[in-house]
Symmetry: C2
Subunit: 196 residues, 2 copies
DNA sequence: GATGAAATTAGTTCAAG
DNA sequence: CTTGAACTAATTTCATC
């Protein structure tokens, strides 16, 4: 398995700035041919580095409620359910989970107000406290920087280097640091799914 | 000028979920022809509702530093300079400005740590206090919802309705609630640029 | 505003190095 | 890991409604 090189990073940067520029233009910028660019972009998607192609929408031009930053202090066991519940909502664009069990979300609050929004969207018992800040502006700029690929072995948790391998099972990608981990993972998997 | 209709919203939703689907597919979904879809997307870009086509990158797979949520309390007069300084940084992906003069940013902190990052990126005098939370997860989902176009008249500040008009000057878009405001804006503009 | 047909432009496949 | 050439697919233009 290869890690990311400068060409991948440059492609990511160019796509982040404008995902519609023709591959011929990207190809010229990275001094490769269009088929190479095409293949590398496929690989970036396959690796999950590129999650999706999308549009950045200026919601300040859209009348979709009042933008707030909602900071919810949750019971540690409920962090994931609260994150999922918020991420699910039509009114929520960003969700951040902090190490100290807070879930921070950018929410476009409907007319009913924050309390109603919370009551309807978040498991009542999970919330300890919450805090609301009115937002006056928000920016999003996708960045790539000097990023190196940082994958974790699905079997042993080590960092996956260039020697690693990867495997796709049931639409999920798994990465491994070495053939042994891949093998072990595969047998465990087969045992489990065989028994099911 | 038209406002957004259901077809525009559906197009936005489809693009947000996958900006690469062919126009023929979008066309079928909204029961129009590909040229119509093309034209409407152009218009959404022209209006500034679609800021750009981009890729959603999974930065957790990229080794670009420790993700934190940085919450900076700033002197009110410095809010804009701090926002701009942060948005400028290669390490910052999101910046939110709250109504009570806090600037909240998602930062991928380099090895030097937060203090160094702040010292190098934010005007020293502007910061009153700051607070850091380690992030364990972050989601982004572009949403459209039931959005209506909410433009503000560049001359009088009223809401721009379907009767409004718009004008492009020096690469900037301006919207107006009525022809009088457009006229007045134009004369003011010509007077100012004539004198320069 | 919308369209079908034509023209243009972009993307992918493939055999080969 | 890359490419040029051939092929396939997508987008835009335009005359017309």
């Amino acid at each position: 398995m290869r890690t990311l090189d400068d060409i991948d990073r440059e492609i990511l940067r160019l796509l982040a700035a404008d995902a519609r520029r023709p591959y011929s233009e990207i190809a010229e910028a990275v001094d490769r041919s269009p088929p190479t660019v095409s293949e590398r972009i496929d690989r970036l998607q396959e690796l999950g580095v590129v999650r999706r192609f999308t549009v950045d929408i200026d919601r300040s031009l859209l009348d979709t409620g009042t933008p707030i930053l909602l900071d919810v202090e949750v019971k540690p066991a409920e962090v994931e359910s609260v994150r999922a519940a918020l991420a699910e909502s039509d009114r929520v664009e960003h969700v951040f989970v902090t190490a100290d069990a807070r879930v921070v979300a950018q929410v476009y609050v409907p007319d009913g107000g924050v309390r109603t929004f919370l009551a309807e969207n978040v498991p009542f018992d999970a919330v300890r406290e919450y805090d609301v800040s009115l937002l006056s502006e928000s920016d999003w700029t996708p960045r790539v920087g000097e990023a190196e690929l940082a994958l974790t072995c699905a079997e042993c948790g080590n960092t996956v280097t260039a020697e690693g391998e990867s495997l796709r099972v049931d639409g999920e990608r798994y990465h491994f640091c070495c053939p042994s981990c891949l093998d072990r993972f595969e047998s465990t998997y087969e045992r489990l799914s065989g028994g099911a």
